[in-house]
Amino acid sequence: MSQSRVHLWLMAPALLLMLLILIIPIFAALGLSFTNYSLGNSGANFVGLQNYEQIFTRTTYQKMFGATIRYVFVVVPITVGLGLGAALLIKSLTRFGDLYKTIYFLPVMAALIAMAIVWEFAFHPTIGIINSTLEQGCGTVLENWGWYANGCERTFPLWLTDRNYAIWTVAFIGIWQGFGFNMVLYLAGLTSIPKELYSAAEMDGAKSSWERFRLVTWPMLGPTTVFVVTISFIRSFQVFDMVEAFYPQGGGPSKSVYVMMFALYEKGIQQNLMGIGAAITVVFLVFVMLLTIVQRWLVDKRTHYV
């Protein structure tokens, strides 16, 4: 090994950019979050914890946390569950598995902003395909269902503009977009399970497929699940495109879809309240880092067994 300093030259550009683009902004955000800085002002005043106090007391931000938590805690379990379910079903097929895989993966590839606009059409109260399909079910057995009868009598939900439905409709689109990604991660995880384990489990008396799943598949997928859950959390915390496309101002009916990334954009970019925006950034980063640390910890704990 030569004693040269060539490694410094090789790493210098990357290290410099890491510092400038990733590390310094974190500290900048931390610093700014204690000020009332606005872009264009020559200076800023130190305001202490005032920004954080606002975030944790004002109703606007309570709505922000409410919307984000609702979205995240609906989207993460369902995308993980559907991803696993689809992977198990596809894996057990003898034919056409690849076709389903391709179809379910399409939404991951398509620009979310474009698909969000299409969904907005589909959910349109009068000309949308969803409500017009629902209307065709009127007068059939479906009317025995109270919700459905109600929809036929008056109108079906306005979906994206109804504050009782908006966040769930947005979450539905998030699920539609994200579960295919989890599916392929699970398919990769399933492929790596040794076949002998299933024969061994069968010999030990695991006859039903549920038993085999409980005794072999699920434990063996542990590391995959930890990763899938973490990445789903991080992705869904960052939901923005749909919210901005549907509700360019204000975050939806009664701010019911006022998610964190949108709040960050509205406060920081649109209203130039950088201090508050920076405080939201810090809270957001703390969430994400905590999640990842928990993930790493879980993974490390597991690797002791293997």
Partner: protein, 305 residues
């Protein structure tokens, strides 16, 4: 007897298989619904969209383009076929072609710079022994935790202070460093035998030419996967362009162009807007259809962490 057994087995087997197919087909229909709506609306006339008639393709009966008449043309000259009208308007009403070129330029610049920056660093971390290597690698692992979108505000302030907002540079700069790229390529370089590098050194190659002439060619599979990961992420990105590009249409990327279209869409523009969406979504979907396995590997690469 044995014959009976097999037929029984095949029957049982295929009935459970059939249930699985029913579930999966139901899922596939929901997944494909918006793609169907998008494609169908991009072909149909405004009236057909509003009244939900005409099936998938619409009747394709010529309709009167009111805007054309407003410009003082004769009615006979203003009859247009719906699908042609939609796609033509998509390209003419907004500079969609320009947006697409911007998208290509930005996505490929990002990827190119990411590789130029990340590869040497990955090589040093994988194949050179020096004091502090573990520390640098720990820093890389830490930086993997930072979602760049989350630190958009300080980055935006930095770019604004440098007078760089509303420029191509603003679209590219935050993405020039891909910690994930460094991590990925380092993992891949670790698997390349040291003998190969030692032989190259014996031949008198410099470390730089080893990186570009020895390591790079042997890392093509990993690089392809990273390329797909990077291109998909930045072609589809909406958040960052939305922040740094304000107003200047010449710099719009495809997602921004589509969003702008939505902003001023009235009833007549649904068709052209859907046509724009089709044009923006299609390149990646076609590429995906052609190289499925590579795409899925590329996108799920992050699973290798």
């Amino acid at each position: 007897m044995s014959n009976f057994d097999t037929s029984q087995r095949i029957f049982r087997f295929s009935s459970s298989e059939a249930i699985k197919h029913v579930i999966l087909i139901f899922g596939a229909l929901i997944v494909l619904l918006p793609f169907y709506v998008m494609l169908s609306y991009s072909l149909k006339a405004p009236a057909e969209i509003m009244q939900n008639t005409g099936g998938f393709f619409g009747t394709q009966e010529p309709f009167r383009d009111d805007y054309c008449i407003k410009l003082g043309n004769a009615v006979a000259d203003c009859m247009v076929t719906p699908w042609i009208y939609n796609y033509q308007t998509a390209f003419e009403k907004a500079p969609l072609l320009r947006y697409l070129l911007n998208g290509i330029l930005v996505t490929f610049s990002i990827f190119f710079i990411q590789v130029v920056i990340a590869l040497p660093c990955a090589y040093a971390l994988a194949k050179l022994r020096f004091w502090g290597r573990e520390t640098v690698f720990a820093l890389v692992l830490f930086c993997l935790l930072i979602p760049v979108h989350a630190i958009a505000l300080p980055l935006y302030i930095m770019l604004a202070k440098l007078g760089l907002t509303n420029s191509y540079a603003a679209l590219v700069i935050p993405w020039t460093i891909s910690v994930f790229g460094i991590f990925l390529m380092r993992q891949f370089f670790m698997t390349i035998p040291d003998d190969l590098i030692d032989a190259a050194r014996m031949d008198g190659m410099s470390e730089y030419s080893i990186i570009w002439n020895v390591m790079l060619p042997s890392a093509i599979p990993a690089l392809m996967a990273f390329a797909i990961f990077s291109v998909v992420a930045h072609w589809n990105d909406y958040f960052w362009p939305r922040i740094v590009i304000t107003g200047n249409r010449d710099l719009f990327t495809p997602p921004l162009g589509l969003r702008e279209f939505k902003g001023d869409a009235d009833g007549d523009n649904f068709g052209p807007m859907m046509a724009t969406a089709v044009v923006i979504v299609t390149p990646l979907l076609v590429a995906f259809a052609l190289a499925q396995k590579r795409f899925i590997d590329g996108i799920t690469l992050s699973g290798m962490k």
